[in-house]
C-alpha cells in the first residue's frame, strides 16, 4: 500500500487496462455467440424429433437411443453403417427412476411400440456397437427420413454397472 502512495496515481492507465480487458472479453463473447449459432447441437429424444416433424429443418441434432442389435448392417465396401435405435428418455433423473440406463435400454429394445429411427453413419464400425448399447449420434435428418450421423458415440452401461453374477461356482 505504501508503494502505491509513492507512485503516481495512475487513474488514466487504470482506465486503459479496463478498456483493454473489456475489449478482449467482448471479442470472446462475440466468438461464443457466433459459434453457438454456427455449431450448436440440439439434443432431443426420438419421440420429440418425430413430434416436430418437418419443422426441425436442417438443424444439427444430437440424439440418443437404444441400439437394436438385429438391425446393424455394415457395408464394408463403402464403409457405410446402418442401424436402428429406439426411443429412450434423455433425462438422467427419468432414467434413474426407471431403474438405471441398463434397464431403460433393455426395455426400449424389448418394446416394439417405441418410436424408432434409422441411423446412417459413414466410417469405421465402432467396437461398442451392439444390441442394447446406448448410441449418441450427431448429425442431420435426411430427406428420406433417415438420420445421417456425423459422429457416433456408444456406451454400454451393462458391463460397468453393479450387477449380480449370473453364474456361481463353489
Amino acid at each position: 500500500m505504501e508503494n502505491a502512495a509513492i507512485e503516481r496515481p495512475a487513474s488514466g492507465s487504470r482506465a486503459k487496462f479496463i478498456i483493454g480487458g473489456l475489449l478482449i472479453i467482448a471479442a470472446v463473447v462475440y466468438l461464443v455467440i457466433s459459434s453457438t449459432q454456427a455449431s450448436a447441437q440440439y439434443f432431443m429424444t426420438i419421440a420429440e424429433l418425430q413430434a416436430k416433424g418437418a419443422s426441425i429443418g436442417n438443424r444439427e441434432l444430437r440424439l440418443s437411443g437404444a441400439v437394436l442389435g438385429d438391425t446393424i448392417q455394415y457395408d464394408s465396401e463403402n464403409l457405410r453403417l446402418t442401424f436402428t435405435i429406439a426411443d429412450i428418455p434423455a433425462d438422467n433423473a427419468e432414467i434413474e427412476a426407471q431403474g438405471g440406463l441398463a434397464a431403460v435400454l433393455h426395455a426400449a429394445v424389448q418394446d416394439p411400440t417405441r418410436p424408432t429411427l434409422v441411423i446412417v453413419y459413414d466410417g469405421v464400425m465402432p467396437d461398442l456397437l451392439k444390441n442394447e448399447a446406448q448410441a449418441i449420434v450427431t448429425g442431420k435428418m435426411g430427406e428420406d427420413g433417415k438420420f445421417y450421423a456425423k459422429e457416433l458415440l456408444l456406451k454400454c452401461p451393462t458391463k460397468y454397472e453393479e450387477a449380480v453374477p449370473d453364474q456361481a461356482g463353489k
Binding site: 483493454g20 478482449i24 466468438l31 467396437d127 458391463k159 456361481a168
Partner: protein
C-alpha cells in the same frame, strides 16, 4: 476376511481423520501446541492406515476373490498380474480409495516437513487436508464401498452387502467379468494415477492458502512454501492429460487424441486455473500485487479438482469415460458448494488485509502481460465451463437441450491459445514495472527475424492455410525468443566470468532454476503446440477394401495388403490381424499389423491401430472389417497425422523443465528467509 480387515482399516482411518480435524481446530483456537502435535500425529497415521485398506484390495484383486463385487467387476482369470493390480483404479469404488490413498500420502508428506518457521499454519493445513480426506474416505465407507460381497439368501435370492445378511450364504462366482478392455493399456495404467496426483497435490497449496486466511498471515509466505507443490501438481496434471490423449490415440481408434469430451474438459479445467495460478503468484512475489486474485485462483482450482474427480467418476454427462450412474453426485456437489462458499467467506473476511502493494503502470510491463495471461486462461476456462454446463442451462430455460461439439470449442479457444503462445514469446523479454514498445522491440527484433524465416519456410513448403501459418510462426517465434534469451544470458556470463560456455550454461540455470526451468517448460508447451497444429490442420484420411496385393495411397505412403489371420489367443482374446507392407515414395519401409481384439469375458472388441511413427508424421492404420474364413481381403482405414509426435516429445521436455525448476535448492529455506527479512524490513520502513 481380508475384506473385513480392509474395511475396518478404512473406518479407523475415517475416525482418526475426524479426531485430527477436531484436535487441530481445538489446538489452533486455544493455541495449544500439544493438541496440534496430536493432530499432526493423527494426520501422519492416516497414510499407513489407508495403505492397509488399499493393499487388502490389491491382494483381493490378485488372489481372485470374486465374492467381492468390486473384484468381480474389474478382474478376471485371464488378466495379467500388472493389470489386476492396477484394477485398483479401474472402477469407481477403487478409484475413490486410490484418491484417498494419494491424498493421505501427500498429507503425511506435509506433516513431515520442517515446521519451525510457520508453525501457526500447521493446525489449519491439517484441518483442510483432513476434511478433504475424510470426505473421500467417508464416501467410500457409506456410498461406494469396495468391500461389498455377494450373498445368496435363504430363499435363493442374490444380493450385495458388506456383512453377511441373516440366513444368507456366501456366493462365490467362478470368474470375474474383467476390466473394461479399453482400460487394458499401459496409458490407462498410468494416466489415472498421474491425473490424481495432480489433483491431490493442488489440495496442499489450497490448504496453506486457507491457513493463511484463517491466521491472518496473508503475506506471500504461503505462496513461497507451496511453490513447489503447485509446480509438481501442475506437471502431474499435464502428464495425466497427455497420457490420456496418448491412450485415446492408441486405443480408441478414431485417429485423434482429444475430443472435447465433458470428462476431458473436467480434467482440463483445474489445469487452466492452475496454470494461471502458477504465473500470477510470481507477480505477488515480485511486486506484492494480485494477492486477492491468487486466493481466488487457488480456491477455484481446489473446487475444480473436486469437481473433476466427481465428473470422471460419475455418470452425469454422456461421455466415453463415464463408468456408471452413481449416488455420489449430490454428495460431491454438496461438498464443493460448502468448501467453496466457506473459502470465499474467509477471503472476504480478510479482503482488507490483501491490498496490493504495487500498481500497474505500463501496458507492456511484465506484470501487465501476466495479467493478460491470467485473463486469457480464465476466459478459456469460462468458455469450457460454459460448454460443459450449457446443455443443463439451456434445458432449464428453454426446455431444449443444446450441446456443443469439438468445432465449437476449437473455434473459440483457438484464437485464445494463439494469443497465449504470443504472450509466451513476448513476456519473458518484458521488464518488471515498465516496458515500452521501443524497449521490447529492441529486445525482440533478432529472434523475430528468425521466426519470419520459419514463416518463409512454411510458405515455401506449400502451407497456405492462414491459421496454420500463424501457428507455425508463433511456434518459431517462441522457440527463437526462448533460445535467444538463453543464449544472451549464457554469453553475458561467459564474457563476465570467463567460464567455458557449457559451464556458463550450467551455472546460469543452476542460479535461477525457476526462471530457466520455466523456459524449458515453455519450450515443451510450444513443441506440443506444434504437434497439435500438425494433426488438427493437416490430418488426412482414406479408406478402402483391399484384396491381397492391392494398395491404398495417402500423402506419399502406399499401403499394400498382404494377409489376414484370425485366431483365439490363450489369454481370452480372439485376434484378427492384418499384415500390410508400407512404402513411401516407392521405398519399402516395413510392415504394419493393425488388429482387432475381441475379449470374451467382457464381450467387447478393441481396435488396435498399426502405427508407423516418425518425427515428421505418423501413418496410422486401422483394421476396420474383414470376412470370416477369408484371409484374402480386408477393409482398412488410413490416417496421416503430420507432426503428432511432437506432442509427446513436448511432454517429455515438460518433465525436464519441471525437474530443473523444482529441484531442491542447496539451501531450501533461503527463499522463505529472504521473504521473512523483506517482510520485516518493510514493516520497519513504514
Amino acid at each position: 476376511m481380508l475384506a473385513n480387515f480392509g474395511f475396518g482399516a478404512l473406518i479407523i482411518t475415517f475416525l482418526v481423520a475426524l479426531y485430527g480435524i477436531g484436535a487441530a481446530i481445538y489446538g489452533g483456537v486455544k493455541n495449544s501446541a500439544r493438541w496440534v502435535e496430536s493432530a499432526r500425529l493423527a494426520m501422519l497415521l492416516t497414510f499407513p492406515l489407508i495403505t492397509l485398506t488399499a493393499v487388502s484390495i490389491i491382494i483381493m484383486l490378485v488372489t481372485r476373490q470374486y465374492q467381492v463385487q468390486y473384484v468381480y467387476n474389474v478382474t478376471s482369470d485371464t488378466m495379467p498380474l500388472y493389470l489386476k493390480i492396477t484394477a485398483l483404479w479401474g472402477g469407481q469404488a477403487g478409484s475413490l480409495i486410490f484418491w484417498s490413498w494419494l491424498m493421505a500420502a501427500f498429507a503425511t508428506a506435509v506433516t513431515l516437513r520442517k515446521w519451525d518457521r510457520d508453525r501457526e499454519f500447521l493446525p489449519w493445513v491439517i484441518v483442510v487436508s483432513l476434511i478433504t480426506l475424510a470426505f473421500f474416505v467417508g464416501m467410500s465407507i457409506f456410498v461406494e464401498n469396495p468391500f461389498e460381497r455377494f450373498w445368496l439368501s435363504a430363499s435363493g435370492r442374490e444380493m450385495v452387502a458388506m456383512f453377511q445378511p441373516a440366513g444368507a450364504t456366501p456366493l462365490i462366482p467362478s470368474d470375474g467379468r474383467g476390466l473394461n478392455p479399453l482400460l487394458r493399456h499401459p496409458g490407462m495404467v498410468i494416466h489415472p494415477p498421474m491425473l490424481y496426483l495432480g489433483f491431490v497435490s493442488f489440495v496442499i497449496p489450497f490448504a496453506f492458502a486457507i491457513a493463511a486466511l484463517i491466521t491472518g498471515r496473508t503475506d506471500d509466505r504461503w505462496i513461497r512454501i507451496t511453490r513447489r507443490w503447485s509446480l509438481v501438481a501442475w506437471i502431474f496434471l499435464s502428464l495425466g492429460l497427455v497420457l490420456g490423449s496418448r491412450w485415446a490415440y492408441d486405443v480408441l481408434g478414431w485417429g485423434g487424441y482429444w475430443g472435447w469430451d465433458p470428462v476431458e474438459i473436467a480434467a482440463f479445467l483445474p489445469w487452466l486455473s492452475g496454470t494461471a495460478f502458477l504465473h500470477s503468484v510470481m507477480i505477488q512475489e515480485k511486486r506484492g500485487m494480485f494477492k486477492r486474485w491468487n486466493m481466488v485462483l487457488v480456491i477455484v482450482t481446489y473446487a475444480l479438482v473436486i469437481f473433476g474427480t466427481f465428473l470422471t467418476r460419475s455418470g452425469v454427462l454422456s461421455s466415453v469415460h463415464a463408468f456408471a450412474q452413481s449416488a455420489i453426485g449430490p454428495l460431491f456437489f454438496g461438498f464443493i458448494g460448502v468448501t467453496f462458499i466457506a473459502s470465499l467467506a474467509l477471503l472476504l473476511h480478510r479482503w482488507k488485509d490483501l491490498t496490493s502493494a504495487g500498481q500497474l503502470n505500463s501496458m507492456l510491463s511484465r506484470e501487465a502481460l501476466f495479467l493478460l495471461n491470467n485473463l486469457l486462461f480464465m476466459l478459456i476456462l469460462l468458455v469450457c465451463l460454459w460448454g460443459l454446463i450449457f446443455p443443463i442451462v439451456s434445458e432449464l430455460f428453454t426446455g431444449q437441450k443444446v450441446t456443443f461439439g469439438p468445432p465449437w470449442y476449437e473455434r473459440i479457444t483457438g484464437p485464445l491459445f494463439a494469443a497465449l503462445l504470443l504472450l509466451m514469446g513476448v513476456a519473458p523479454l518484458s521488464a518488471w514495472g515498465h516496458s515500452t514498445v521501443k524497449t521490447l522491440g529492441r529486445a525482440m527484433w533478432k529472434p523475430t527475424i528468425v521466426s519470419v524465416a520459419v514463416l518463409a519456410v512454411a510458405l515455401a513448403t506449400g502451407v497456405r492455410s492462414v491459421g496454420a501459418l500463424i501457428g507455425f510462426w508463433l511456434v518459431g517465434f517462441v522457440i527463437a525468443i526462448t533460445l535467444y534469451d538463453y543464449g544472451r544470458a549464457i554469453w553475458a556470463r561467459h564474457k563476465r566470468s570467463h567460464e567455458p560456455l557449457p559451464v556458463a550454461f550450467w551455472n546460469l540455470v543452476g542460479r535461477n532454476r525457476r526462471r530457466y526451468g520455466g523456459y524449458i517448460i515453455h519450450l515443451g508447451i510450444v513443441l506440443m503446440a506444434l504437434g497439435i497444429i500438425g494433426i488438427e490442420m493437416f490430418q488426412t484420411e482414406t479408406q478402402g477394401t483391399l484384396k491381397t496385393g492391392e494398395s491404398l495411397s495417402l500423402s506419399g505412403y502406399t499401403v499394400t495388403f498382404r494377409s489376414l489371420a484370425e485366431w483365439n489367443n490363450p489369454d481370452g482374446r480372439n485376434i484378427a490381424r492384418a499384415v500390410v507392407d508400407v512404402s513411401k515414395d516407392g521405398r519399402y519401409l516395413g510392415q504394419l499389423a493393425p488388429r482387432r481384439d475381441f475379449y470374451f469375458d467382457a464381450q467387447q472388441s478393441m481396435t488396435i491401430p498399426g502405427v508407423r511413427s516418425t518425427m515428421e508424421d505418423d501413418l496410422y492404420l486401422l483394421l476396420v472389417d474383414w470376412e470370416e474364413f477369408n484371409s484374402n481381403q480386408a477393409t482398412l482405414k488410413l490416417f496421416h497425422n503430420p507432426l503428432i509426435n511432437w506432442l509427446w516429445v513436448g511432454s517429455v521436455v515438460l518433465i525436464l523443465g519441471m525437474l530443473v525448476a523444482a529441484w531442491p535448492d542447496q539451501e531450501p529455506d533461503a527463499a522463505v528467509q529472504r521473504a521473512a527479512q523483506k517482510a520485516s524490513g518493510r514493516v520497519t520502513a513504514d
